[in-house]
């Protein structure tokens, strides 16, 4: 494993590859091709969005975010559960998503954070990004979800599988009534 440092044509090619994957993945969600999106998830996926708390200066590392594997977060789940979420939307009677929301995922600030074992032979990479997700549903209901993502992508043939996705939403009290969309 090496920490990803900038430089070299392999590094740029790998970064480009990761970006293209994230944009394609976001596009599947926005096009509501949910089942195809599920195919991009590794069977041992961890999908985690902590609850964020207002803590005293100096306690952020220790206490600001709830932890994966403990207590209650917004999401701390696996591929099976995400499969259920997709199945639910596709019943046509999941009223929180019926009629379907209009959603655009903006993904930016993409950085390679870690490459294993090397840029020329990357079996697994950790990719940092920012998201801005715009949701509009029915007539007037609009939500903006903004935050940071850290994804672990695993090589899968010519493409990637998402093995781990951590989403840090920049909110404390959730300002939306629901998290009925996928991030």
């Amino acid at each position: 494993m090496i920490a990803a440092t900038v430089g070299g044509p392999e590094w740029f090619a790998l970064k480009h590859d990761a970006e293209e994957f994230l944009y394609m993945e976001a596009d599947l969600l926005d096009q509501r091709r949910f089942r195809e999106w599920l195919d991009l998830l590794a069977d041992d996926l961890v999908y985690f969005m902590p609850v964020r708390r207002n803590v005293k200066f100096g306690q952020h590392d220790e206490k600001e975010n709830t932890r994966q594997g403990e207590g209650i977060s917004w999401f701390d789940e696996d591929k099976w559960t995400l499969g259920k979420r997709v199945e639910q939307i596709l019943t046509g009677v999941h009223y929180a998503e019926e009629p379907l929301s209009r959603v655009t995922h903006m993904v930016s600030n993409v950085r390679l954070l870690q490459v294993t074992p090397s840029p020329t032979d990357p079996a697994e990479i950790v990719v940092g990004s920012r998201f801005l997700v715009y949701q509009n549903r029915v007539e007037y209901e609009t939500n903006m979800f903004v935050g940071r993502r850290t994804d672990t992508l695993r090589r899968h043939g010519e493409s990637w599988l998402i093995a781990r996705r951590e989403m840090i939403l920049e909110q404390n009290v959730l300002l939306a009534k629901n998290l009925s969309i996928l991030f």
């Binding site: 594997g69 789940e77 019943t91 009677v93």
Partner: protein
């Protein structure tokens, strides 16, 4: 300003109608804050959130921020989170441990038992004028801890909490007691807080006993998200109560519950089927509970609402939910998730995962509730809409008194709990005395006759 009819005209439970003004009108909302939330007992938190001296948790009562904390002697207090000098919040952290709450504005500081301690430049500016003893943080005159849950009221004349709770206690116990029947012993493993554009009473009423909204959860029932779903079971939870009689019970203090009255002899229903160790744990708890509780073990909980705005889920999932009013059409929901503190780690892990996929804004079941409450509120704000009351005629008169459990008991799906809730609500808005609010006054008896 719109003309608002007297509360008695808007709430006609004999006919089974409730005016939409209750759910949208700013004038009504203002009265709720002044006449109802200043008097009722309100849930503020759980002892497991503040185990040590100096521990605090910032909560809410009605629209207002309060601090729940434990002082150095171990006593629990609830204070208004507002400096006595210019009102700044003295604490803007959600929880923690401290010896002092220091106001960021002019640096007045308060100890965790509420006393004003530090006043900068006291000698030069306040000597002989300011008596510190008179300027403590404002504390709730009433506080009660019941099986770990902390409740408070702003009304010095409020009856003690157990009187206020009344016979609903037998149902709340099914939430707060250990799964094996030992009293208390729960802990909060996490909290969800979110804003929803709805009137707070839609949410309270949903838990109060509105089983009629079951079809709105059809999507989760079709796909199966319960603790045995991976073993092929559909539905959103395990069928623990197949052998029982569903009961909807209302109480004179305004509370309402949906529970199940199990037969004299009933056996454990396999649950958590993809987790054999968890199934085994609950089987063990089930038998222990029957031994400990005897006849009371026949009460199994679904949901309930303790007047006015604390709801619960009894078992699958298990937790308390407070619907904090923000405005007539906006509510801040806080859900406290509960487990037995001494449950094995594997059991807690299965439970928390189930809670998250079921409950709250990301919960597959409750998302559909939020959608309904939002648009029910929105489409009731109109001038024409407000002329037409909501229908509450479901199962009018179909209940028995104190059979098989104390309270008014229906064995069919009913809106009796809601009618009783709004009758109680009306007595608060009329400014009645506590006898009437507890449902024991002569005016209440007259209305019942």
């Amino acid at each position: 300003m719109a003309t608002i009819l007297p509360i008695g005209h808007m709430i006609d439970t004999g006919r089974g109608t409730i005016g939409r003004e209750l759910f949208v009108a700013p004038e009504i909302y203002r009265q709720e804050l002044e006449k109802l939330f200043t008097r009722t007992w309100l849930f503020v938190g759980h002892e497991s959130q503040i185990p040590q001296p100096g521990d605090f948790f910032v909560s809410r009562m009605g629209e207002e921020s309060v601090i729940l904390c434990r002082d150095p002697q171990g006593s629990v207090h609830v204070f208004l989170n507002s400096c006595r000098h210019r009102g700044m919040k003295v604490c803007r952290y959600e929880s923690g441990n401290t010896s002092l709450f220091v106001c960021p504005y002019h640096s007045w500081s308060y100890t965790t038992d509420g006393r004003l301690q530090g006043v900068p430049l006291y000698r030069a500016l306040y000597e002989g004028q300011l008596n510190r003893g008179e300027w403590s943080l404002i504390e709730t005159p009433k506080l009660h801890i019941y099986k770990g849950t902390v409740w408070a009221s702003w009304d010095p004349a409020a009856p003690d909490f157990m009187t206020y709770l009344g016979d609903a206690v037998d149902h709340l116990d099914q939430v707060l007691d250990c799964r094996d029947g030992r009293p208390g012993g729960s802990e909060v493993i996490g909290i969800h807080k979110w804003i929803l554009p709805t009137n707070w009473k839609f949410a309270a009423e949903n838990f109060l006993g509105d089983t009629y909204h079951n079809p709105s959860h059809r999507s989760v029932d079709m796909i199966g998200i319960g603790p045995s779903a991976r073993a092929g079971q559909t539905g959103r939870r395990d069928n623990e109560y197949n052998a029982g009689q569903h009961i909807w019970v209302s109480f004179p203090q305004g509370h309402g519950v949906h529970s199940v009255w199990m037969p004299e002899a009933f056996d454990y229903q396999p649950s958590y089927q993809q987790y054999p160790a968890v199934d085994e744990y609950f089987r063990h708890c089930f038998h222990e509970r029957q031994k400990r509780l005897g006849d009371k073990a026949r009460i199994m909980p679904f949901t309930g609402n303790l007047f006015p705005n604390t709801s619960y889920h009894g078992r699958q999932p298990r937790g308390l939910c407070v619907w904090h009013p923000h405005s007539p059409t906006e509510t801040e929901a806080w859900r406290f998730f509960l487990v037995d503190a001494d449950a094995p780690a594997e059991v807690k892990d299965v439970l928390r995962r189930f809670y998250m996929r079921y409950s709250g804004p990301a919960g597959m079941t409750e998302q559909d509730d939020m959608e309904n409450w939002l648009y029910a509120t929105k489409s009731s704000t109109g001038t024409i809409a407000r002329r037409y009351p909501f229908n509450y005629q479901q199962s009018i008169g179909a209940f028995r008194h104190n059979d098989p459990v104390p309270g008014d008991v229906s064995v069919q799906i009913t809106e009796q709990n809601a009618r009783n809730y709004y009758d109680t609500y009306a007595r608060y808005l009329q400014g009645d005395g506590w006898d009437s609010l507890l449902g024991i006054g002569p005016s209440v008896r007259r209305a019942a006759e």
